[in-house]
Amino acid sequence: MNKKILLFLGLLAILGAVIAGAIFYPKIDSQASVIIWQLRIPRIFLAFLVGAGLSCCGVVFQAMLRNSLAEPYTLGVSSGAALGAAMAIMFNFGVFFVTTFSFAGSLATIFLLYLIASRKHFDNNTLILAGVALSLLFSSLVLLLFAIAKKEGVHSAIIWLMGDLSSARPEVIRIVSGFIALGIFILIGLGRDLDIICMGDEKARHLGLNVILTKRIFFIIASLITGAAISAAGIIGFVGLIIPHFARFLFGINHRRLLIASGLMGAAFLILCDTIARTIILPLELPVGVVTGICGGLFFLGLLVKSKKWGSV
């Protein structure tokens, strides 16, 4: 356990170093401080919230669908949110509507997924396959939207689609951060319910949980967080998959603790990935979704190949 805590502190130290570096390193002239305060800090702040939010959503989906491969990206929820956001962007709606549409998109995707999966008794394979199919479908629809629109903003829109923390405007960050922070706090408060949900609907009910109501609440909050994150930062894949696994490995499965740990680790991870994306091909920038996608895709494959059979008690 001590080693785990050390590792965790190490991660936090990296996070701290990145923030401190961004703030203190180039304090030579005022131009640099403008960059720090108006570009870097908001960006790090956004990365913090989006990383934390997506990781917590991963924890929630994995517990609720009782499937350790579930997360907003693999379930297609991210793409659904992106479709919603893309529509709002194309029709030039305001910032608030982009977030609202994005939320509606993610909620609709979960609803669809739930419908499909319930026909097959929530079979693990069905769930993931349906998620992948929905993900591809919605991504294609987003591309279709962009292709039809033929506006000058298409290039930046596609960058956004690949996951991009650099282009969010301050007012977007403000709205989105409110939603995400609120959502995470509620999730942590409901941590114990999430433990019980892992037992399956019937046993959860016998332990005293109002299963239908609780699941509804979790689906809505997870959709809200995902929608908010995607509307600001585009599709950032696999964060919600990798981080909960590491957090579970380090801190066990108690969900209140797991949510806090996943939130912090996800935040640190996304800030790190964004720093890599920003610096690795200077003077150009990579979309951060490319970095998380490469890390996450490899991790996902490894998990598929190596993972034990799902246990039963």
């Binding site: 009782r66 892992c198 046993k203 005293g208 034990k308 246990g311």
Partner: protein
């Protein structure tokens, strides 16, 4: 007033009626065994009694209150249900797993009280899983898992405990341990037990009252010597048996008649 009153219930899945007009009551301190062949509706009956499955007709009363009017949380304070098998997506530790039993008793935003800790510890030592407390659920053997499920049921500090085949797939050592523990709690703490059993001899040995279920109806109900007659068993299970007395307890003991011996007997 009975603790649990089942009055003329009909239920099933879709338009397939599995349970047809079943009525019985469970008094405080009862130790009731439910037996019957595969497909007789034992588990479905359980799901109906515990409020998971909606009833098409009839009602179930707990302490005189219709069970569908009791919130899951309030019901869980009094009634624990131990299923046959639980699929676990993550390997909780044994202690975490048993602690979930306290969910209904705890305030959502308060840390566990001393009562909660005591209940969990007592349940774990009662079912002999204290030494496993920091182990992951996935690492346990079948017998150990069943004992942990039992501990979770005890930790819920219920007034009535319902178990669905707690001894399935276990060796006789674990079978005796589970049934013995149940009997002990039943006698010492007045815990009411309703248990589905496949093993007729276990039912005979441990249960005060036996309900023999056949095709969704109660075929016979009563003490072991009334229900476990060779006629009743041959009728319901469609299998030849010989019923003798257990020399120690005097309870009926059922011997299977295999096909070859069958010829010589008849």
């Amino acid at each position: 007033m009975s603790l649990l009153d089942i009055k003329g219930i009909f239920c099933g899945y879709g338009n397939k009626e599995v349970i047809k007009d079943v009525s019985f009551s469970v008094d405080k301190g009862d130790f009731i065994g439910i037996i019957g062949p595969n497909g007789a509706g034992k588990t479905t009956l359980f799901r109906a009694i515990t409020g998971v499955l909606a009833l098409d007709k009839g009602s179930v009363f707990y302490n005189g209150v219709d069970i569908s009017d009791i919130s899951p949380r309030n019901l869980a304070k009094d009634m624990a249900v131990i299923p046959q098998i639980i699929f676990m997506p993550f390997s909780f530790t044994v202690e975490e797993f048993v602690f979930m039993a306290r969910f209904a008793h705890m305030d959502r935003f308060q840390p566990p009280s001393k009562i909660d800790h005591d209940a969990v510890n007592e349940a774990m030592s009662e079912s002999g899983v204290m030494h496993l407390k920091n182990r992951g659920i996935w690492e346990l053997s079948g017998g150990e898992r069943q004992m942990v499920l039992l501990a979770q049921g005890f930790a819920q500090t219920p007034k009535i405990l319902l178990l669905d085949e707690p001894t399935a797939h276990l060796d006789i050592c674990h079978q005796a341990a589970i049934m013995g523990t149940l009997k002990k709690l039943n006698k010492e703490h007045g815990l009411t037990v309703v248990v589905i059993l496949h093993d007729l001899n276990l039912a005979s040995e441990y249960c005060n009252n036996i309900i023999l279920l056949s095709e969704g109806k109660i075929y016979k109900e009563g003490g072991a010597s009334e229900v476990l007659t060779y006629k009743a068993i041959e009728k319901v299970y469609k299998t030849l048996v010989i019923v003798e007395k257990n020399p120690l307890s005097g309870k009926p003991y059922i011997f299977l008649v295999s096909q070859q011996d069958n010829k010589t007997v008849v």
